[in-house]
Subunit: 137 residues, 3 copies
């Protein structure tokens, strides 16, 4: 079994931002030479998410608005007694999950027609990392 591990670093301009990282994951897969197996793509921070969905700007804006409704910024989270102001970012991360597994078949991401991998930054403007680990043969 072979392993290939890479780390992506993001430093977004905005507090919340959604970045299509499919090309980076494909690049890591090619570098690994792995033909069969899977790729784990996982946020290394607890105020970010990783999901597989559509690369459509209108939908991305819908998702952002929806997440703000379900897990809104509020002053009065207990977490803010620590001096933090990002309670909502943690909740948003829990809601969308922080990782995906992409199956690899014949050396390619075995995706349906519209699947794209997104990094979802919920507390940006500082350095955050994602791990890509390709595992297989």
């Amino acid at each position: 079994m072979q392993f290939h591990t890479e780390y992506l670093t993001f430093h977004t301009a905005k507090h919340r931002e959604y970045i299509n990282i499919t090309p980076e994951v494909e690049k890591a897969l090619r570098k690994s030479g792995i033909q069969e197996g899977m790729v784990l793509v996982s946020a290394m921070h607890i105020t970010a998410g990783v999901w597989v969905n559509d690369a459509e700007d209108g939908l991305i804006a819908d998702i952002d608005e929806w997440l703000e409704q379900l897990a809104p910024f509020r002053q009065d989270y207990r977490h803010h007694y620590t001096g933090e102001t990002n309670g909502d970012s943690h909740l948003k991360s829990l809601l969308v999950h922080h990782q995906v597994i992409v199956p690899v078949t014949k050396g390619r991401l075995d995706f349906g027609p519209w699947q794209q991998i997104y990094y979802a930054e919920f507390d940006g403007q500082r350095s955050k990392r994602v791990i890509i680990k390709v595992m297989g043969e």
Copy 2:
């Protein structure tokens, strides 16, 4: 390490539908001959989910109602400017996640007493696929 990959195709009669696919996953596992490892079960579309929960019709109806409350159909999603009408289906997919990993021990799905694998269709009445990838030894 061995790999065994299968694809299930669904074409549901209703727009939203919930299908217990545990027997199909068990069948794929048996065919693989794998004794130790895991099975990735992952929707290949971005308007569907895969979860592990109870095979109880009342609960399934509760989940469906709850998802419609948290991620309702609306006319005015930005995504609909593309001509689509399934913005809510994408949000429902994000909410429940599109994949699970089932551990395999001694040739069996290593599940607790009530765990069953469901395919959750949020935008049906057309062909949609799920990948099952068994990995192990």
Copy 3:
């Protein structure tokens, strides 16, 4: 490829409880001797979750309150016709997901600075299990 499987059992004092299980997962990893690969940590019950987030008591209380808002206890879930009273526990489990994959690099959980693994009990006061499966080389 090597595999090492362990099961944790919980019997919480309260109906809902959140337990940091990172030390148990690290112990299982050490016992396995695996240097490269991953750990699957997955609830074996359908009224519990597993997540990766912060070990901060204020945040844990925020999460608990937030989950009760999004997936509240109600008398009138259809699931309760079976005699159960835990419909909300199933919904909470779906919302946060029941499993995580932790990457393993150089014999350690390859985590960012604040990532901790939690078992989230949504219907406790009885025995519940989590599977830890370490896979790699």
